[in-house]
Symmetry: C2
């Protein structure tokens, strides 16, 4: 099943919002064996939407549309779909009642504007919106399946999970066609070109029903393997075989994980297995490491807490860092990073303490410690060690890479 | 100047990566007065790329392409562009020398695979890549301007800022056409429909050369105003007039900021103006509030640090929260939130202390305190106050909304 994703919204085209919906929809469709062949974004403009519908209907078995369903003048999608299908708007009674009930819970009554949300093209199947006011619409006709959903991510996701994906899954299963499945290997400490050279020759890894993509990122190169077969067991077998080939050719210590999950997820999982706990002391990352670890449900068994010690005074007061060491070596130094890691570990009585101190930029760099310089220390059963990194000039990227490096350091010790 | 953005990469179509490049490119193009009319993403597939090039060249003055320039077999963009322009690949000497110098700094020599990166179509203008190995390419011919850049965001951004944007800006200025400019108002505490009703009638706000869009988000509804004129001063005047109309009609306390910046940026800016400092005590957000504040360059003058107190023991040990209060009221309670805010403020001797404690989910909810329940406390010159929020069921969204709510609380006190 070839699926296209149409996002409607001026806010995307002027770059005010990142289109996370398209990525989420793609990954959902891929998870049930559908193939997304194109993403396209057009503005809140009747002719632009019509042009895309005309074009996409020729290359799609299903078109998933998000955006443009709100109650204001700049929301055009519903009217345009009505016109495209040569249909008329009618009031959908269950939606009126749902809107009344939702507003009653908030102590409000149905305004004319909100009542307008219950108008839908007469031939569509209405998809209930449990989290908002705009219902979704599904059109099952001669052409491709067309689904229109709100642009608010939480509302769109609930509609997909509860209504659209089950429907798509059934259609795909009825086709009984071979489908693609993917698995990603996370590597560390090697460049894309060097890794590609090691994996040669690729003839036995890449073929008509197997694929391999190289995805460079700030967290290291990821290798996405794909396998196509009718049955899940066969796909798993093909992926297992290719993973084995890649691990052997890449060499020791290169592939650190074999699932496409954040490094923080891997850290939490492994710590839970061996009953280890973590405390953090963050300076330049200001909470990003804690945020990454606590993003994982169940992290409370592993992550005890930590200190955000952005100022020098807070490093002394909260972590017991020696003020003389800051004076002598600077706040960005191996000595201070180690004391931070040890201070956090001691205060929270954990297996591991992680300390991060660096010059994130754009200011604060010197010849000796240019912007991008970060010291990361790890205290634990191994004693205490620290490593120096020199990243780039971008503040946010330096912070992200610091978090990834800290998690990578710990992951190696947990392997 | 009508611009289209073509992203090439299977990893986008299977949803493995969010397309942040398109948003960044859009916002860059909009900032110099260009109009982005479409985003499209296709796979690493020769025919798919050719089809898009054929189509986009008919509707664009400039096509910006990212992705598919790496050194591995799945990178197709360069070969396809060479074919589309009926050109041949030649070695670009300055790129060979730049690659050699870059590798020498890392103590490596030029491999055949990396030398291949220096092959470019003979008719293109080469754009140097200061941060990576794949050069960019610009094609200036009879059709639209076509620019091909790597997909790695940092490399793409450097090329845009240093080479492509200056070129585009010059072309746009030579046209001497009216351009659009945008400004966003951030509102809080009102639904999209209610806000739209208050702003009626829109005739004097929306016209041929002025626009208004409603953008609902977890941080509140944002209003994006647009104005089109030849000169910047005229655009500013039109935006000022519409901002004034909107502020009056929306009513007191609705519009909290008038720039499209994160709430954290506004908090740091206002605190700097009045020399206020902040400390945080985070439980369910695990560092996200600290991360949001420290994302802003210059935040070190405002953000002193804080404690990540994920476990109950850490709330007692690091913040001096009374263990009896946790026992009696629960960790998610107004009493504990207040003690957290006060504890952080006391330990770091700041103007403001912010405490966040909640049930982010998916587990841990009860009838009395369902998933999504969050208490946020603010301690400062006002004394101490706490507010209860009940968000939804999604862990990450609950955490984001908690951060936004905490920043909103402080912002109101700073206004």
């Amino acid at each position: 099943m070839n699926v296209t994703i149409l996002t409607v919204g001026d806010e995307i085209l002027i770059g005010q919002i990142v289109n996370t919906n398209a990525a989420w929809l793609s990954s959902s469709v891929a998870s049930i064996g559908g193939i997304v062949v194109e993403h396209v974004t057009c503005g809140d403009d009747d002719e632009a939407i019509i042009t895309e519908l005309d074009r996409l209907s020729l290359i799609s078995d299903a078109v998933l549309i998000t955006g443009g369903l709100g109650p204001t003048h700049d929301d055009r999608t519903k009217d345009v779909l009505c016109r495209w299908y040569n249909d008329t708007l009618v009031e959908h009674e269950p939606t009126v009642r749902a809107l009344e009930a939702m507003l009653a819970r908030r102590g409000a009554t149905l305004s004319d504007r909100n009542r307008g949300q219950a108008l839908v093209p007469s031939t569509c199947i209405v998809i209930p919106n449990d989290l908002g006011t705009a219902p979704g619409m599904m059109f099952v006709g001669d052409g491709p399946l067309v689904v229109s959903m709100p642009g608010v991510p939480s509302e769109m996701k609930a509609m997909m999970l509860n209504h659209v994906l089950p429907d798509l899954r059934q259609r795909i299963e009825q086709q009984a066609m071979p489908t693609w499945e993917y698995r990603t290997l996370i590597t560390t400490g090697i460049t894309e070109a060097a890794l590609a050279d090691r994996l040669e020759p690729l003839d036995d890894i890449v073929g008509a029903d197997t694929a391999l993509a190289f995805l460079p990122s700030t967290q290291g190169v990821r290798l996405r393997m794909g396998a196509r077969a009718l049955h899940a067991a066969a796909r798993q077998q093909m992926l297992d075989a290719n993973e084995q080939r890649i691990r052997v050719r890449a060499g020791d210590g290169i592939v650190v994980a074999s699932s496409d999950v954040p490094l923080s997820h891997e850290v939490v999982r492994r710590c839970r297995e061996v009953d280890h706990t973590i405390a953090v002391a963050e300076s330049c990352t200001g909470g990003m490491l804690g945020a990454a670890l606590t993003a994982i449900p169940g992290s409370s068994a592993v992550f005890m807490g930590g200190m955000l010690t952005y100022s020098n005074a807070s490093k002394v007061a909260l972590l017991g860092v020696d003020a003389n060491d800051i004076e002598e070596h600077g706040a960005v130094s191996d000595v201070v990073a180690k004391e931070m890691a040890q201070g956090a570990r001691r205060a929270l009585n954990t297996t591991w303490g992680i300390g991060i101190t660096g010059v994130a930029g754009p200011d604060g760099g010197s010849d000796e410690k240019p912007v991008g310089t970060v010291w990361i220390a790890l205290a634990g059963p191994i004693g205490v060690m620290a490593r120096r990194y020199v990243f780039g000039l971008d503040r946010q990227i330096n912070r992200e890479r610091s978090v990834a490096a800290a998690l990578g350091l710990l992951l190696k010790e947990l392997s």
